[in-house]
């Protein structure tokens, strides 16, 4: 099982590979694209300048550094595009190929067909935006020439094991760390990066320095009586739609009435899910045990905009866990090892904020 790490600047390539990254992925948000479509309509689903390389020259540098150590680089072109974008998109594609990337992460049916029609020979990895929830969808993408499927986050462990075992002749990849979006990536149509358009550098500078990460990482370690009100404070109410501190009103259906107490309870419960810590940096490393036995090809670290120090910790954590797994421990021993390693590397307990739920019941 390979460790797939994000990269958003050439200078972090060597350290990530030294830490154990075996594949790298990245996106480019060029100034010409941004001028026409802004960051909100980014070509690669990361709608912040800070998440992306700034130019194809930087991509070339990343590829050169990675290839010098036999590490492939995968370019994300996984937004959903429209017809007027195709001249600019074609240029992005050509620049990426010229830079020497080894594969593309794609989600858009039109782009897949375009690449096929042009006879471009490059492995296609179907993004989580491709919403592959079943084995028939794997066959659908297989016919289109895909070589790898990146699974959605919204799976239980038994479901992942089942779909990976059914995926004949297809590399399978799963998210393993960070950014546990509560909505399904390929079906969610909320815009990201709106604040970068509204506030420009005021928003962008702290983001590019990873201050949002440090702030949230500090917040999550505080006792919940302190962190909860801050995470739902209106001070931070202008972030992504999933984190807005909405006023929530519950209603019972016309046919089934419930009492006021239950409605208020439902309101409190739903309100609590809309906060800055919602889905922050979950971890699925305990399940590498099942993923490996099922035949998972790669595990992906999310968080292109994370500071290099965080990316390095993530890669080292995965590398140590996979090394231990190679010694064929029992599942119980593996989980104990992972939890101890987590505390050692991140310096706080994992808190069991899990990426995936449920143990596999299949015979592994």
């Amino acid at each position: 099982m390979k460790i797939l790490s994000p990269v958003n600047k050439p200078r972090e390539v060597e350290s990530l590979i030294a830490a154990g990254a075996q594949e790298l992925y990245c996106g480019v948000l060029s100034s010409s694209w941004k001028k026409k479509y802004t960051n909100v309509a980014s070509p690669n689903r990361r709608e912040w300048k800070a998440s992306n390389l700034n130019s194809y020259q930087e991509l070339k540098e990343v590829v050169t550094l990675a290839h010098s150590q036999d590490v492939p680089v995968i370019l994300t072109l996984n937004a959903f595009y429209t017809r007027p974008q195709y001249p600019a998109l074609e240029k992005q594609l050509e620049e990426g190929l010229r830079a020497g990337v080894d594969a593309l992460i794609v989600a858009d049916l039109g782009l897949i067909l375009f690449i096929r029609e042009r006879g471009i020979k490059i492995p296609l990895h179907i993004s989580t935006g491709g919403t592959t929830f079943n084995s028939q969808t794997i066959k659908f993408y297989q016919e289109l020439g895909a070589s790898r499927i990146i699974l959605p986050r919204h799976f239980s462990v038994p479901e992942i094991v089942e779909i990976v075992q059914k995926a004949k002749g297809m590399e399978m990849e799963s998210f393993i760390l960070n950014r546990g979006c509560k909505n399904i990536d390929g079906f969610c149509t909320f815009q990201h990066g709106v604040n970068e358009v509204r506030w420009g550098p005021v928003w962008n500078i702290p983001k590019s320095r990873g201050l949002d990460y440090y702030f949230l990482n500090t917040l999550r370690r505080l006792p919940s009586r302190i962190s909860s009100p801050i995470s739902r404070s209106s001070l931070f109410g202008s972030v992504g739609a999933c984190f807005l501190n909405y006023e929530v009103q519950a209603f019972s259906s016309p046919s089934i009435k419930v009492n006021e107490e239950k409605l208020r309870s439902a309101e409190r419960s739903l309100s609590s899910t809309f906060n800055l810590l919602s889905g922050l940096d979950p971890c699925g490393v305990c399940h590498l045990y099942e993923f490996q036995k099922a035949g998972m090809h790669s595990v992906k670290i999310v968080g292109r905009s994370n500071p290099t120090s965080k990316k390095l910790k993530d890669v080292k954590f995965l590398k140590a866990s996979l090394n231990f797994l190679s010694r064929k421990p029992s599942q119980e021993d593996f989980v104990i090892f992972v939890k101890e390693k987590y505390r050692e590397i991140y310096r706080f307990p994992c808190g069991e904020l899990c990426y995936y739920y449920g143990k596999s019941s299949l015979n592994l």
């Binding site: 067909l113 929830f133 079943n134 066959k139 919204h154 399904i184 149509t189 009103q249 309870s265």
Partner: protein, 273 residues
């Protein structure tokens, strides 16, 4: 515009047999089934009842299907067996795997590309930055990949004969060469398997989970408001919507010849207006 609306086919969308009473004489077609959740798929007897209702009322029939896991694929198989005995039945597909399976196994079905796969850009917060973005971007957000001939041709080869569209706040641009349906008055924005309604009346709900379904969506709906969201969001089950009652005036230019009224959502969200 009124003339277009009058000559258009009008459909009513429901997923629960209890709501058949919401169908009125102005509806010519019944859309039956869940778009967003495989737990709400009807049983074969329920599908038969909906089909019988449609036949008795002389309504055309469309089975609506959601995105599905392996478990959902299995739940669909008996429904295909019921549906294949009915002439001229449509199926709305919201899952590429379902499309693949139907083309391989039931090529006689008339297939419709659901709104989960039409890839329109729906988020309402685009309105917050309307004055700060270039025209190219605004145009982009009015479109979807369906305006690419490559995509249309591919979908046609796969048996898709119609596409389902939402009513965008920024307006819609598109290609009339493929018949389209417009859903109203609610536009879906996002959906999840980590259902926010699931276990909502139990205080112990963790932040991230895919719990066994207890169908709390049959009891609760929610309205979300925030100063940075240009209009309220409504939650039904695992899906969030906003309301847009302004039907575009250029429907025929968009190829829209069917209006799908979300009568069940209207009933559910009535008290939340």
């Amino acid at each position: 515009m009124e003339n277009f609306v009058i000559t258009m086919e009008k459909a009513a969308l429901i997923s629960n047999l209890d709501n058949l009473s919401l169908i009125t004489p102005k509806h010519q077609r019944l859309y039956f089934g869940p778009e967003f959740c495989q737990h709400l798929l009807p049983s074969p007897p329920e599908l038969k009842e909906a089909l019988n209702f449609a036949r008795q009322r002389r309504l055309s029939f469309t089975l609506v299907t959601p995105f599905v896991t392996e478990e959902g694929l299995k739940k669909l198989i008996p429904l295909w067996e019921v549906l294949k005995d009915w002439q001229k039945s449509e199926v709305v597909v919201n899952d590429w795997g379902v499309l693949y399976f139907l083309r391989e196994n039931y090529p006689e079905f008339f297939l419709v590309l659901g709104r989960l796969l039409s890839k329109q850009k729906r988020g309402p917060r685009l309105l917050n930055i309307k004055d700060k973005i270039p025209q190219e971007m605004w145009n982009h957000f009015q479109r979807s990949y369906l305006d690419l001939p490559l995509v249309r041709n591919f979908l046609f080869q796969k048996g898709i004969r119609r596409v389902e569209l939402d009513n965008l706040l920024q307006g819609i641009k598109g290609d009339p060469r493929i018949p389209a349906s417009l859903y109203y008055p609610y536009t879906y924005v996002t959906t999840t398997r980590m259902c926010l309604t699931n276990a909502c009346d139990q205080r112990t709900q963790p932040l991230r989970s895919i719990f066994p379904c207890r169908k709390e969506c049959s009891i609760y709906t929610f309205k979300l408001t925030h100063r940075n969201m240009p209009l309220p969001l409504f939650i039904k089950g695992n899906t969030q919507f906003f309301k847009n009652e302004e039907i575009p005036s250029h429907l025929s230019e968009l190829g829209i010849d069917r209006l799908v009224q979300e009568v069940e959502y209207e009933s559910n969200f009535h008290s939340a207006q």
